[in-house]
């Protein structure tokens, strides 16, 4: 109702101001983007444009074999008295022939070369061949519609001879069948490379983005909260656990691969440890421990858990050894399929590389969950003073440790001098932060730690996403060299962030009802995710993964420009060489592949939803 009280005059003034403002805005836009209409009208530019467009619409897809034919005539130079009459030609003949204005002349004298019965509108190269055989181009001419050309030129100096010398014209004639051009072959090879590059990077992105996406979903993370003391304990125990896991597994790998065992023993050991792991896990899980009802599982079960963990690690190390050894021998024996053996070896090596990190993360989580139990036990104590004091001590230690870790990470990047002093100050500052927090929060104060994790994960995704893979590839090219491997690493990193964001939004968009229902059954957060969230996100996850593959194919056309391999590499070369007909082939290939990917992903999406 407020609108009515405004005067119509004021209203139209407002509209006018908005319109004028918009006009100014676009004027600035024109001037900033240097809109130049004169250039578009310039005749030279238009000619160039037409030339490029014509080249682009005539892709170099197919080619004929060409046969060069040489039409010759003779001339005597210098003209030594006894005049030379040249080779007789029959003008009624339909075969191409040459005539000269004179057949006997001196070096440096003008001469006119005429050609008849050639192909219409073709470039002709007229050459002079002295007896020593070193060709000399006299000039070039273009034939008219009847296949006739005229070239005014001079007889070259310093090529005197007593014998008649040859003047010839070279023409290329198409011969044989139409065949696939070299450009098309190269393009095919590179587009296959591009597809696999995109496939690998999408797969890696998928593997990492899948678990991370849950940490970036607000609706799940909101539920994650824990008491203040547990957070302090986790902050202390997590890095310790990570370090322990990493170091132990690194030592184990070194000692096992140091044994230089034969592949057979490795394989047998691998199977034995798989069996052991299976038995231990079955023993542990079949004990049907009902959560919460008998918490005291005793020393035996803990021992069994540790044994199971070690046996899993030994199994993985042996497995990677088996892969490496088997891959090596396969690569030698398979011949044309050696790439399969190399792949097996690479998988083994990747496993060996990832294992310490995985173990670090696993151990940090296990030890971290121990923190939860410890804090529960402390909180069960009666004395409020005792709890407060313990809580403050823990939080001081936790935040001092956290700050020291962060500062040392910074030190790696910035290489500070006087690190010892900086460490002391950082420790004190971190301790003070911990002291203040410990004083402010009650030991059992429930902190929404999930929101913190959500914020950190989201920020990492956003930062990674904002760095285009074109920029990332420059860094990776330095690391692993120019080629498709650098490209796939760059795309993979970007894909993790992009997919992570898209996935997490799908998690946020799920219908909350089933989640609520599963929560009401007494399921914990992990179970809620497995039973209520994952079934709902499978279709969108597949759709987004396919979409991302398609996007990566398009992206990999660009990262080739920066040395990331794939079809972009070829495209850039051809554009730089002004070879637009070849570039056109690559553009068509990209368009075809992207459309095919689109139809394919549409089909798969329909099948799955």
């Amino acid at each position: 109702m407020k609108k009515d009280s405004k005067s119509p005059f004021l209203h139209s003034m407002k509209v006018a101001i908005i319109i004028i403002g918009l006009i100014i805005l676009y004027a600035i836009g024109f001037s900033v983007t240097k809109v130049n209409l004169e250039e578009t009208k310039s005749e030279i530019r238009q000619k160039q444009l037409i030339r490029i467009i014509r080249a682009l619409v005539q892709p170099d897809l197919f080619s004929y074999d060409t046969v060069d034919t040489f039409i010759q005539t003779k001339i005597l130079a210098p003209c030594t008295g006894n005049a030379y009459s040249g080779i007789a030609v029959d003008p009624s003949n339909s075969a191409p022939y040459l005539t000269l204005s004179t057949y006997c002349s001196n070096p440096g004298d003008p001469i006119t070369v005429e050609g008849f019965n050639f192909e219409a509108s073709e470039q002709m190269f007229v050459q002079f061949i002295p007896p020593n055989g070193v060709k000399l181009t006299l000039g070039q001419a273009v034939t008219d519609d009847t296949g006739h050309f005229t070239l005014d030129t001079k007889i070259p100096k310093n090529r005197e001879s007593e014998q008649p010398q040859t003047i010839q014209v070279k023409t290329s004639v198409y011969a044989g069948n139409l065949k696939i051009s070299g450009t098309l072959k190269d393009t095919w090879n590179k587009i296959v490379e591009t597809l696999f590059l995109a496939l690998l990077s999408t797969t890696v992105g998928f593997v990492f983005a899948l678990p991370l996406s849950f940490f970036a979903a607000k609706n799940l993370m909101e539920r994650l909260k824990t008491d203040f003391m547990n957070i302090s304990l986790t902050l202390i125990l997590f890095p310790i656990g990570f370090y322990l896991g990493l170091k132990i597994v690194q030592i184990m790998i070194r000692s096992i691969s140091g044994l230089t065992i034969s592949p057979v023993i490795a394989a047998v050991g691998c199977i034995l440890f798989a069996l052991l792991t299976f038995l231990l896990l079955r023993q542990l899980l079949s004990s049907q421990s009902i959560p919460g009802e008998h918490d005291t599982k005793g020393f035996k079960s803990t021992l069994a858990k540790i044994a199971a963990g070690i046996s899993i690690i030994v199994f993985c190390i042996l497995l990677s050894e088996v892969f490496i050894l088997a891959g090596d021998s396969l690569a030698k024996s398979l011949g044309a399929f050696a790439f399969l053996g190399e792949f097996v070896r690479d998988v083994g090596e990747i496993l060996e590389m990832v294992l310490p990190l995985g173990a670090g993360i696993a151990v940090s989580f296990i030890i971290g969950s121990l923190g939860g139990k410890i804090s529960k036990r402390i909180l069960a104590e009666q004395s409020a003073w005792f709890k407060k004091v313990i809580s403050i001590i823990l939080s001081v230690a936790a935040f001092a440790g956290l700050c020291l870790l962060l500062m040392n990470a910074l030190n790696f990047l910035y290489e500070f001098k006087k690190m010892r002093e900086i460490n002391v100050y950082t420790g004190i500052i971190g301790g003070l932060i911990g002291l203040v927090l410990g004083l402010v929060f009650k030991p059992n104060y429930e902190i929404r730690i999930g929101n913190v994790i959500y914020f950190i994960t989201r920020s990492v995704f956003n930062i990674l996403r904002s760095i285009e893979s074109l920029v990332m590839v420059i860094v990776f090219v330095v690391w692993v060299g120019i080629g498709p491997f650098a490209g796939s690493l760059a795309l993979a990193l970007h894909t993790i962030a992009a997919l992570g964001k898209m996935y997490s939004e799908q998690v946020e968009n799920i219908s909350e009802g089933p989640l609520e229902a599963i929560q009401a059954t007494g399921a914990n957060l992990v179970q809620q995710v497995v039973y209520a969230v994952i079934p709902q996100i499978i279709p969108p996850y597949i759709a987004f993964t396919l979409y991302r593959w398609d996007q990566n194919v398009r992206m990999s056309t660009i990262i080739g420009f920066a040395g990331g391999g794939g079809i972009g590499f070829l495209l850039q070369q051809n554009i730089n060489l002004l070879n637009y007909r070849a570039a056109s082939v690559q553009m068509i290939a990209i368009a075809v592949v992207v459309s095919l990917m689109d139809y394919l992903s549409g089909y798969v999406r329909n099948k799955i939803v």
Partner: protein, 250 residues
């Protein structure tokens, strides 16, 4: 015995859904909660199993204050409180059997959940529950292939897998036709009479209340405005519950 003591809920944004509500529910009672939409029925039910965190007050069940428990302990008590919802809340892309089995999640080692494994006994129990609600033949179909009434039966089977002592039902029949509504209410009635499960059920239709409930608690704007047996709801009481302009239907 479930005791609700001065329970309040203020949502972020300031809406006060419950205003110091107090009442007791004896074991084995069929309690109907009635009131207009937005009167706080759903909030009340969800506060009892802490799907929604109460702002103030106590929920004392068998001597333990559920409102004060930390989340990881609360989940152990939630196992004994089944819940069915107006919109059934099945996981539509999972099979009926998986939906029913998920009622056991609170009782199994969470590590199994990654493998979607349940014990043989759980499978047998799940089939028994499905037989009890008459749709054992649909066990391997996807939940979204079922009709509304069938879906609600699956959700009852799921809640029964928890071996509950309390069953919360949040307008369980509001999205079903009258015939189906009665059949669903009969299942709840059976659970109440045969297994002695306390049922707390929010309802819209008074004829259902008269037929099935032992007792009625009526909410209006977050207050308890009526607490008694269904037959006590006369026209005066009705206007108090539903407002002056309301008219009785059904």
């Amino acid at each position: 015995m479930l005791e609700i003591k001065e329970l309040s809920k203020i949502y972020t944004g300031g809406t006060q859904a419950l205003k110091e509500i107090s009442f007791n529910v004896p074991k084995g009672q069929f309690l109907a909660v009635i009131g207009l939409s937005g009167s706080g029925k759903s909030t009340l039910l969800r506060c009892i199993n802490r799907l929604i965190e109460p702002t103030k007050g106590q929920i004392i069940w068998n001597g333990i204050d559920l409102a004060a428990l930390p989340e990881n302990e609360m989940r152990l008590y939630r196992r004994k409180i089944g819940m069915v919802f107006q919109s059934f809340n099945l996981v539509l892309r999972s099979s009926v059997l998986t939906n029913v089995l998920s009622g056991r999640l609170g009782y199994i080692n969470p590590a199994w959940s990654f493998l979607n494994r349940f014990s043989k006994q759980d499978y047998l129990d799940a089939m028994k529950q499905l037989e009890r609600v008459g749709i054992a033949d649909k066990a391997n179909q996807r939940a979204d292939e079922l009709s509304g009434g069938q879906q609600q039966r699956v959700s009852i089977a799921r809640a029964m897998m928890q071996n509950p002592e309390i069953m919360l039902a949040d307008e369980p029949v509001a999205s079903l036709d009258p015939v189906l509504a009665h059949s669903i209410m009969q299942y709840l009635d059976k659970i109440n009479k045969e297994f002695g499960v306390t049922v707390i059920c929010s309802l819209h239709f008074l004829d259902l209340v008269h037929r099935y409930a032992d007792r009625v608690v009526a909410l209006n704007d977050g207050y308890v405005v009526f607490d008694g047996v269904p037959s006590e709801i006369n026209d005066v009481k009705f206007k108090e519950i539903y407002g002056r302009d309301a008219e009785r239907v059904g």
